[in-house]
Symmetry: C2
Amino acid sequence: MSKKSLTKRSEDYSLWYNELVKKADLAENSDVRGCMIIKPHGFAIWEKMQRKLDDMFKETGHENAYFPIFIPKSYLSKEASHVEGFAKECAVVTHYRLKASEDGKSVVVDPEAKLEEELIVRPTSETIIWSSYRNWIQSYRDLPLLLNQWANVVRWEMRTRLFLRTAEFLWQEGHTAHATAEEAVAETEQMLDVYADFAENYLAIPVLKGVKTESERFAGALDTYCIEALMQDGKALQAGTSHFLGQNFAKAFDVKFADKDGKLEYVWGTSWGVSTRLMGALIMAHSDDSGLILPPRLAPKQVVIVPIYRSDEDLEKISARVEEIMQDLRKAGISVHYDKRDTQRPGFKFAEWEMKGVPLRLAIGMRDLENNQIEVARRDTFEKTSHSLDGLTEYVQAQLEAIHENIYQKALEFRKANTHYVDSYEEFKQILEKDGGFIYAHWDGTAETENAIKNETKATIRCIPLDNPQEEGTCIYSGKPSKQRVVFAKAY
Amino acid sequence: MSKKSLTKRSEDYSLWYNELVKKADLAENSDVRGCMIIKPHGFAIWEKMQRKLDDMFKETGHENAYFPIFIPKSYLSKEASHVEGFAKECAVVTHYRLKASEDGKSVVVDPEAKLEEELIVRPTSETIIWSSYRNWIQSYRDLPLLLNQWANVVRWEMRTRLFLRTAEFLWQEGHTAHATAEEAVAETEQMLDVYADFAENYLAIPVLKGVKTESERFAGALDTYCIEALMQDGKALQAGTSHFLGQNFAKAFDVKFADKDGKLEYVWGTSWGVSTRLMGALIMAHSDDSGLILPPRLAPKQVVIVPIYRSDEDLEKISARVEEIMQDLRKAGISVHYDKRDTQRPGFKFAEWEMKGVPLRLAIGMRDLENNQIEVARRDTFEKTSHSLDGLTEYVQAQLEAIHENIYQKALEFRKANTHYVDSYEEFKQILEKDGGFIYAHWDGTAETENAIKNETKATIRCIPLDNPQEEGTCIYSGKPSKQRVVFAKAY
């Protein structure tokens, strides 16, 4: 395989993904098992996501805070299903000091510096946060409490994959406290809407909104809402979750408030999060065999300009004009980069920016300069147009919008084409093997059937869509009666 | 002590600080030893610092990336002085799984899930980053490499204090790689200037720029540059450091590059960082017995407006006008909050915003409305002025600038008044005990003298100022000859 070209998606989707992540300089594996290094280009995209999501959280009344990375072991145990969900993948700190080995040649853990109680590197922060909420909440006046934190978390996964499943990942976790169940449910649903809005309007990925079945719920939640996206290989990816926690954590950590009549009640809670996994969704939803395709609203560099020149004198003339173009573009809020490296040829630069997913590439040579024009190439369609330098900013703006719309529509059409309604288990298995995609099928509502299907086919129930149409039917597996179809898929 | 008032600085500076941090809702101790919880108001200030610093790093050509939180134990040992500096305060991960205890009542560490090699929660990231640089750097074309990361780090401190010294803290760490020593030194100095610029123009704190003595250097550096600020109790606070690493980490991790002639050379490095410690500096440099005083350029809410009203009808009229005022202020880039809570009286609100350090408080009642005016109160001087609603935005803008200038000048004058030149050890000890402050004194340049003075007086050499005037003198402690004065102080 040459250094530049990618394995084709049709040949090996999984290899294509791994190669793309590395060649587009997004991330790589570190020497620490399962932990990734997010490289500058990847991190710049994540930063754009963070900024936008953070704005959306603040617009809906949330504030940021920061809680400790360590959780005392005993805290995890306070909510029974929570500890069951996380105990098997915890990084445990047991000591707080190293010392020189006896031969003086290395360092060893100092056995005398053993912690009385082990500390867990947070896999999620409900327990440490609700333990604080006990001190912060006394009365209905202290509610709602609407906090979020941006943090790193660790879950000791055995099989890891860059962005999709890593031992350490970056995320945000919202943790809110409310006086009533209704208000907490409304918050859970609001944040799901925020995530769906972000997915569609920034990632340019259509998502299904739904609720998880009991066996797929967050450990400690009464209800888990989710957004599910479909990748180009027909597998689903859970892109965000929002949990209605009921009073589970309030009871585990004894968080009560006095209502207006002075009566003590347990507080209602929610939590919700998205992570660097979204990077995986972004890559797999849009990109092609030439590399990454970035949704324009999340592209750190929306436009790259490449000069085509023979002499230093030409370059100087071109550069002078490019400076003006860049000023205009920047005034319009467009981020633009001028690639005037003299160590690389234009063809190399074109391929590099294609691989890195820059939405629009502008190229300008002496002939263009004389004709007052510039070449505009779209990353999503590879279309090239010569456009006048007059009105260029407006054209670029319109093209960026057009790219967003185009890749969103393409993903939506792909989802439509890969959404199936099946009424028999045979058909279910056939479609699952052949095309994948979202499969709407009747299910009898039991965990037994859900597990049996999962064990036999690797397909899971991704969600029960919100506002799901109710219809009589029979379970494709057990033949028992069913009131609605649910969405099955193989998933990341 | 009432819930509202603080212990006076003159009575107990240390207690005043602790109370202020809690009452201004900046941070609190968590249940995890030495780890703090940064509360929303504190975190909002930190976010403003982050944004501005991040902009400054990007303007000087740096990109963000993210490296793993865990460092294999063996990596720490590769640079000899580095491991010596950090081994004694490392949080060590030894296991990756918990399991139910035999009685089923709690969870215990699963002894079968022991890591082959222990992982250290990063106290700083030189080792894991230089281990990556080995793969990223081959040729002079790959240099300079200018990266930064925003991260949490852990140093197991035995005596902790909110913001000033905590087991976990938030920071940024820049890590750069260069082809020549000169370029690396220039980078080290440039980042020191960025920090000093930020301290003076955003924190409103004058700082001394200098270099550390050998014994105060970062573990693994050839030179540590620092900015030192003086707090109101006469103690110094190191507010940022920038390290010239020479080729130490390149040698430890075998990072070489081919120069233009194809010759292999070790790479030159720097690292530089500031942390949530800056929150401590901000608090201690400016605040008073009524609470926090925020420098306007870092205040999350620069202006708070409080309505003074008797009836709902009045409130409605006032609010309508306030909406217009806020629109104008926001257009001018001023962040403003309207505090129309009906659960609290104006006096309570005034005290609360004073405690939280909001630079300008505006109050408006029916009489003001009729007279087309508003009351403007400055947090730094407590001055109150009635100002016409015409031209209010310009006035507010000017007042915010005036507050920045005033608190900076106040801190500068305090530093001048508390800067002493002494020529005898007796005088040195007297001033140190009585007033503290920066003490310029001759030192013989030996670590022995430095340590002796430290042991006897707790004063350390904060720095040797940049461009330090050279003058003949004799060491205040040993009487040996000296070429320059250095700056001593007790420090946080």
